[in-house]
Symmetry: C2
Subunit: 341 residues, 2 copies
Amino acid sequence: MKGIKVVLLAVFVACAAVFPLGAQEAPRALPVPETVSPELAHLIAAGPFAQWNTHPTTAAEWKAWAASLAEAASRELPALRERLGVDMEQGDIGGVPVFIFPPKDLPEANRDRILLNLHGGGYVLGQGESGTAEAIMMAGIGKFRVVYADYRLAPDFPYPAAIDDAVSVYRGLLETTPAERIGVFGTSTGGAMTLILTLRARAEGLPLPAAIAPGTPWTDLTKTGDSYFVNEGVDNVLISYDGWLSEAARVYAGGHDLKDPMLSPVYGDVSNFPPTLLTSGTRDLFLSNTVRMHLKLRQAGVPADLIVFEGLSHAQYHMALMPEATFHFTELGRFFGRNLR
Amino acid sequence: MKGIKVVLLAVFVACAAVFPLGAQEAPRALPVPETVSPELAHLIAAGPFAQWNTHPTTAAEWKAWAASLAEAASRELPALRERLGVDMEQGDIGGVPVFIFPPKDLPEANRDRILLNLHGGGYVLGQGESGTAEAIMMAGIGKFRVVYADYRLAPDFPYPAAIDDAVSVYRGLLETTPAERIGVFGTSTGGAMTLILTLRARAEGLPLPAAIAPGTPWTDLTKTGDSYFVNEGVDNVLISYDGWLSEAARVYAGGHDLKDPMLSPVYGDVSNFPPTLLTSGTRDLFLSNTVRMHLKLRQAGVPADLIVFEGLSHAQYHMALMPEATFHFTELGRFFGRNLR
């Protein structure tokens, strides 16, 4: 891997580089797949995210941890925007702060289309600008104008604050743009919120977005799903449900039933959902979260597509500029291009 | 699981029931997923296929082993045909013996359409009628007339005998049915042959089938692919590449380069392939064989769909009559219904 310059973007990887490795459970010894890009091979070989087993016990501890991760993640963002030719504007929509990412070379066909991005981070991470790498990559590679919702986070703002904010932004967008020209996407928690927003839109009588792309969505906040077990210690981003992730589920839910579809959308009624594209990886701790949702959508007759990347752990498709990222955001661009008016 | 009557169909499971478990490597201890059907949960809980680590050393040993598995697998087939309302005819097409499975209630729309089925079994198993469970289920559940090619097997007939026979049947079908009305599908080795047949058809100037559905295809005969490692000891059908599977690759290839696209189609040029539907499972040893092929097809611009079943090991979707099987063959029926003229 020597000599390969990898641009690392996401909070987890940035921090794996910053902090010494110290996972309490060693991951299984597995060879790095031969056929992935050198950049992805580098991410796979980097070992586990050192802080996966963090267990904050107070709001202050959560916020200190989230702030340290946000700072590390934010450092690379100006260079990423520059490299991908993406501008950034700040504002608010529906009373919620947003970042807007217009690509400098927005295609004519996408001029009146908007994508809403909901970031990941377990409802506790990704504050402010720090979670915008995915939005920037979608704008720069997929060539859409992307609106990024800086929704409120737990533990200060537990359920339903985050999804309320996402719905408020969606309502705000509908004032200027018809739903047939709006797509929604996000990764991990943002993937789950993409699905929950669609459930909420239907429940509230709003028109549904024209298409949605939940990437490796956290569709089940309980430890239900085969890959929570099979890929435990295999996924080098999340490593295990039993680390910070289970704590995040708890503090966000704030006592609500974790299997409520508004928290775990795999238990929701997805009939008449719009075309959906899901993404995961063979090492993803959320592979089952993804494929269970995919099967449920297909069983409901929804046109739902699935892409699973070779060797990829959770959400790594937006953690570096690499061929897999280019492929992912190009596919999303094609998908939204086909399905938005 | 008590009280559940599971109809076990495929060679591996049938034999796991016949022989005491005796795998040399214990599988990883993993809970049975909670959300799969009771029948699939039963297959998952049944433990590893006892004979995965068989290493025949002579043609006679191969044939004795294949015959014993074929006998066990064949026993359930008449009841399966009866239950699914499927007839069986024997004949030959293009000089190759075939079994033909017309459903008793063939829909009018499918009257002039044909599906060619290529069975699995590592190019060494599935002789005669013994590999027909998948063809019967496709006919009975998916409601198509299915032609099953009883192609020649290794070690007596190494590469390219099997694929030559498959191509001969395809050529024979073209004499009465236009390619736009022909689909090809198969599982495991049969999934790989489905892809290789398409490569061969193009190379020989034949029209390509209208659509293909390779299920968990053996697209790489070498031990290349992340799930060969991650799902080793997790998949309870194949368990490991290093058992009978690697021996089968060797005796079929007969000295040819295992990475030749005619043996490992993931290395082939798939541009202009017809619409393709691939299937795998989260525990499948061939998950990477499947997703690597899927990504390659999408990169070539082929409309390629992927379904990954929760908790499923290799090819289990055709190993019992269960909701996952109904879903699989219904999806295949819809897929071919959409894509065949």
